[in-house]
């Protein structure tokens, strides 16, 4: 295993910048998000805990041009975007957000292969950074990972104080390290210290959910209108928890047309909005409780049925960014213990 001094991170990123567009956590834009590194600033090492805008935005942007079109002699000519060959490197992605990408991969390469998403994903190297200071809203340890989980990144950095230990996880990660200069070999002591840091970080995640109990209680609660009404009462139906969720991937498609020419875009959409399911004659999720139920069930019931995994990584953004402190862990903990409705839920929605 290799290691690098924190003061040398800038040199490391400079080397990588020759091959990749390097993204780092930044608050320059007014909100914490992954933006292109300016070639100098590594101040984020002092303040960064996690981004507000999840790194999914780097793979599935909130606004993306799919293709352009122009009208000529009664026919449309399509202009497909140049396939992006530039390689990206996201430095400092947290384990929860990296796991979230592994989860959204499943839907984007399912029956339909989404080339926009998959191309970007393929061209993006993830350099993870474990959390030594998780938020009080974090609950990743209940979802099969932890604040130092390395399974979903190419390289994993563990903060041991003045240095980072570098774990080479994938072949691409190994290749990058092989051609990176200025790294030192980690000693056995370093590895022992990293292991202590990992254990301590794991202990610092105190918010818990019980996924086994949830799997048992959620299906019979599906039709329990009273429960969902109560749970949904204080929700204001904004898009914060879904837009800023690293595993929420819904998008809308819109054409921008002037004359006969224009372009097709896609942008994030949210099941919290009534308009999401609005149809000409009816809206199956007109009531707020149906939308809240959809959000919870999509993550904890439908996605597990479809892909055998919960579509939540416990990043806690939906809790700490919610204007009314609607807390999904409280909802999940308050699911009725016994089947009250007695009717089995529909499969998927």
């Amino acid at each position: 295993m290799k290691k690098v001094k924190k003061q040398d991170i800038s040199k490391l990123l400079s080397q990588w910048q020759k091959e990749f567009t390097v993204f780092v956590p930044s608050r320059e834009t007014g909100v914490v998000e992954m933006v292109v590194w300016d070639g100098q600033d590594t101040g984020f090492l002092d303040w960064y805990r996690n981004t507000v805008i999840p790194p999914k935005a780097n793979i599935l942007p909130n606004m993306e041009k799919m293709f352009g079109f122009s009208k000529e002699d009664g026919r449309y000519n399509l202009e497909l975007p140049d396939s992006e060959e530039q390689k990206h490197l996201i430095f400092g992605i947290r384990p929860c957000d990296a796991r979230a990408l592994s989860i959204t991969d499943m839907v984007f390469q399912d029956a339909y292969e989404d080339t926009y998403y998959l191309n970007r994903r393929k061209n993006t190297l993830l350099v993870g950074m474990g959390c030594v200071n998780p938020y009080d809203s974090c609950f990743c340890t209940s979802l099969g990972l932890g604040p130092m989980e390395a399974a979903d990144v190419d390289l994993m950095l563990t903060d041991t104080g003045d240095e980072f230990l570098i774990e080479e996880v994938t072949d691409q990660g190994k290749e990058l390290i092989a051609k990176t200069e200025g790294l030192e070999e980690a000693t056995r002591d370093d590895e022992a210290r990293a292991s202590e840091v990992r254990d301590a970080a794991y202990q610092r995640v105190t918010r818990k959910i019980d996924t086994k109990e949830i799997a048992k209680r959620l299906p019979p609660s599906f039709e329990n209108e009273k429960f969902w009404e109560k749970i949904a009462a204080k929700c204001i139906s904004c898009g914060i928890c879904t837009f800023l969720c690293p595993t929420c991937y819904c998008f809308d498609i819109n054409d921008e047309v002037v004359g006969g020419d224009g372009a097709r875009f896609r942008n994030w959409d949210s099941c919290s909005f009534p308009l999401y399911t609005q149809m000409p004659m009816e809206n199956p999720r007109e009531e707020k409780w149906r939308r809240v139920r959809q959000k919870v069930c999509h993550k904890y019931l439908f996605y597990p049925r479809l892909f055998d995994t919960i579509a939540c990584t416990g990043c806690g953004r939906c809790i700490r960014l919610c204007p009314v402190n609607w807390d999904i862990t409280q909802t999940l903990a308050s699911l009725p213990a016994e089947a009250t409705a007695g009717t089995e839920s529909r499969n998927g929605d």
């Binding site: 606004m63 904004c238 898009g239 914060i240 862990t329």
Partner: protein
């Protein structure tokens, strides 16, 4: 439990037990440190969870249009203005609401505390009031801040610490910290900018808007059945989060709530990407007052600003 909280719980229980209301809308302790969360309940046993503290930030009047029947609502002075404004607009019937007034000396702006301490909310051990100072404890070390440093900007220009419209008043109001200059210092900064610079400022701010519509959803004055931004025939605003459309959405929304906005500051507080929306809404409130001598939500008998016309009205806006 404070004396005010005790009174509140007794009153709320009585309202439900006597059948005077179907719902109680108040605050309970949140799931995160230094937060409260709305408590909306029909169950009298839930009233023992009601709290009153310097973290009751939400303007609960936004929930009144959702509850059927009669509701008893915990309201600070600013919230009561929103309720009155909704009555003026005939969105609510006065007889269907029991206003439980909470005298308020201001609520804490956690973002300010975070900025002052350089720590995140969850890294703070405690925030308590000692007289007119906020004492913040971090890792066992105490730091003192003036109230004006940590209260929400809209609290610093508060003129209604005691609700003007109420059915039950819980307590006497404590000392009010007013600093109107500080309250509008951000607006002053914008006013002093040359127009090009101001345009650039708002362009930057709205470039990061993600169109989550939290600003609209927390706003009691935003009660349109269908928001203009969601119209598709014609489409006034693109649903794509381009800065121009984000700006048009917000300017449109602001103008729509002119004469209804009470400067409760919820839009700015809810914004996850830190757009200083109150600089627009407060400025607009000032313009409404200057041109029409009208303050939203201060007189439930008054016709809504945009629904009335006076022959001798100022026409300075026609230039």
């Amino acid at each position: 439990m404070s004396e005010t909280e005790q009174k509140l719980r007794i009153e709320a229980r009585a309202l439900l037990e006597q059948g005077r209301v179907d719902y109680i809308i108040g605050y309970e302790t949140g799931s995160l440190k230094f937060t409260t969360t709305p408590l909306i309940t029909t169950n009298k046993d839930d009233v023992d969870r009601l709290v009153i503290n310097p973290f009751i930030v939400n303007n609960l009047s936004v929930f009144l249009r959702e509850t059927s029947g009669k509701a008893g609502i915990v309201a600070k002075g600013c919230d009561s203005r929103s309720i009155v404004s909704l009555i003026q607009d005939q969105q609510l019937a006065r007889e269907n609401i029991v206003i439980i007034g909470v005298p308020c000396s201001g609520v804490v702006d956690l973002k300010k505390v975070e900025r002052l301490t350089g720590k995140d909310r969850d890294e703070l051990d405690d925030i308590i009031w000692e007289g007119d100072k906020a004492v913040v404890t971090i890792g066992g070390v105490k730091k003192e801040f003036q109230a004006r440093e940590v209260l929400l900007d809209d609290c610093l220009s508060c003129e209604v610490p005691v609700p003007q419209e109420y059915d039950i008043l819980l307590d006497e109001v404590g000392p009010l910290v007013c600093d109107k200059e500080l309250s509008r210092s951000h607006i002053k900064g914008l006013e002093d900018m040359p127009p090009e610079q101001r345009w650039q400022f708002w362009k930057n701010e709205f470039s990061r808007c993600i169109r989550c519509y939290a600003c609209r959803q927390v706003c009691p004055a935003c009660f349109c059945e269908r928001c203009f931004v969601e119209e598709s025939e014609p489409q006034w605003v693109s649903p794509l989060p381009k800065w121009q459309d984000n700006l048009i959405f917000q300017v449109g929304r602001m103008i729509h709530v002119a004469g209804r906005c009470t400067d409760c500051g919820e839009c700015e507080r809810a914004c996850p990407v830190n757009i200083p929306l109150r600089s627009l809404s407060k400025k607009m409130e000032e313009i409404v007052e200057e041109l029409f001598h009208y303050r939203a939500g201060t007189d439930k008998e008054a016709p809504p600003l945009m629904a009335a016309y006076k022959v001798d009205e100022a026409e300075d806006f026609i230039r």
